[in-house]
Symmetry: C2
Subunit: 324 residues, 2 copies
DNA sequence: TTGTATGCGTTATCAC
DNA sequence: GTGATAACGCATACAA
């Protein structure tokens, strides 16, 4: 009957359907900036399962500005998205919590709120940093600088805490000067290197807040004539695509970003489909130390070098996962 | 009257409004893969103006597979997006054209369809490649290899044509072996280097299909012990963020991607608001040669090196724009 | 200005 | 099963 008419170009309106059924099959994704290399992998993972489950993604850039984030969240709510993914967003302020209160189901990635009952996908950053610190200690480093990520970021705080634990354990120097309060940007790495290298006693290694940040350190080092790893070891966190490039060859901690994005989307969709509200679930992915050429024994520590047997090429040491 | 009730959490439904007004204030963006570094900058530019104009972005990954693209396009149409941005997508096949026929306004980025009357935003790739070829010729290169992007890409074809013109002009060798049919991937660069270097007479320089592709060449060169630029000059196209990193330091052709994204969104919105249909408009951005450390005179051409005065640091030569 | 009815294109409900 | 009808939440047109 209507088959004939339908064949000739008719397509049901998803808008009308959304109004009628009260579900839009749209998922909002909030992030600081798509063009920051830290994020696209997560987005891709989210889209992988969203697409498979018939959902579309609404992308919002917040530039890490809470004001913009609130605005975009409101927009997504107005659009009646079925769910939201908050990728490394502000999650603790009263204004954000108030909006989340009236928001559709959501899941957090890379910014936890221990005090709240949210769905969360993250990675075992503490173990990752611990492995990294152990690696540097093995190489013989005792004067290790640390670039702190955004102060309000729970992940950045976790990393720092894990660093302090390791620092104590291995007897690293703990001058306040060896900690730079920065963020995840490349510029921040640039600035940090400048500060660290102008110290009376510069560090022999730097742990950056993440890979993008570490790229800034590497760039600044190259410009300043500081050789890596001969004069200075540098490590990052993330294992972005570039980190493995031979020209960069950055020791870092890998976290499976695309997988994490997938998991977040799955968690979210599950939550969206759930009839009754249950406790927030956390999925923590294991991290893995990826040893590359940017870390080596410190100068004048030739002895220590012998302690470390470089196997064939690069080595990846996996850390146990804490799944909950 | 209603002010009171409104204050207590009421928010108009964008879904209902969309149904009623027949405009969704959503723009669909189709791209191969967000996690490919070539794309996020464009997306960011699109979002800049979309956001300012009250539109939201629906993101779709097509993996450069026409089948997926068609599917996503259909989804966007079903969702009644007000417009679509086709970022380096298939645009010539009958199936795609048929869908575009019934689609809302759209704009093409980085894949032109001269035979159709579409809105288009691109960059002056020909001039860019011409400048690059001239640069290599100035350095003394006469045996220059070329990695061809996806065969169906109009941009890739443009680049190749411009290359052949320059090749003839400067009397470069024109062995068929010096052209590798590849794509924009890093792997493609890897493969190309292997093939070129195993030639009886390897090239002294390689022009990659884009920066990501060039990164693959650099990586493969590093692994194969081919020194850049001493043994081989390498150039890319795009000027992605990493290209300027001191460790990469890639000579390339810059195109203002974020600006192009912005222009595309503006063009699209203009088209969406237009009452009568007008001719398709093309906006071509100028490109600029960015000379960095990955290109140098070929071995045994010390004389030629003198022809080129490296000014201070890096030099950027701007090319005139063709605006239409 | 303020109020009331109608329709956007679906899905769901109800009667047949 | 098949077909008519209401309702989703707005905007608009029209009446008051």
């Amino acid at each position: 009957v209507r088959a004939a008419a339908s064949r000739l170009g008719y397509r049901a309106s998803a808008v009308a359907r959304a109004l009628r059924t009260q579900q839009s099959f749209a998922i909002g994704v909030l992030m600081a900036d798509v063009s920051n290399s830290s994020f696209p992998d997560f987005v891709r993972g989210i889209e992988d399962v969203a697409q498979a489950e018939g959902y579309n993604l609404l992308l919002c850039n917040t530039d890490d500005v809470e004001e913009k984030q609130l605005q975009e969240m409101q927009t997504l709510i107005d659009r009646r998205v079925d769910g939201m993914v908050l990728l490394s967003q502000h999650t603790r302020s009263a204004a954000v919590r108030a909006l989340l209160e009236v928001a559709p189901p959501y899941v957090l990635i890379q910014r936890r709120t221990a005090s709240f009952n949210d769905d969360y996908v993250g990675s075992d950053t503490r173990s990752g940093i611990a492995a990294l610190v152990a690696h540097l200690a093995d190489l013989g480093h005792r004067r290790v600088a640390f670039i702190h990520g955004p102060v309000e970021s729970s992940i950045a705080q976790d990393k720092f805490q894990s660093f302090t634990v390791g620092r104590r354990r291995y007897g690293f120097d703990s001058d306040p000067d060896l900690v730079h309060m920065g963020d995840y940007s490349e510029e921040s790495g640039h600035a940090a290197l400048g500060r660290f290298m102008s110290l009376a006693r510069p560090p022999t290694a730097i742990i950056a807040s993440n890979d993008v940040n570490a790229l800034g350190v590497l760039a600044a080092a190259a410009k300043a004539g500081v050789r890596v790893p001969e004069d200075l070891s540098v490590a990052g966190f993330d294992d972005i695509a570039l980190a493995s490039h031979p020209r960069i060859d950055l020791t870092t901690v890998r976290q499976p970003k695309r997988e994490m994005g997938r998991a977040a989307a799955q968690l979210l969709i599950k939550r969206m489909r759930a009839k009754r509200t249950t406790r927030g679930k956390e999925i923590i992915f294991p991290t893995a130390l990826v040893t590359r050429g940017s870390t080596a024994p410190p100068r004048g520590q030739v002895g220590a070098a012998k302690l470390v047997r470089r196997t064939g090429g690069r080595s990846i040491r996996r850390r146990a996962a804490a799944q909950s």
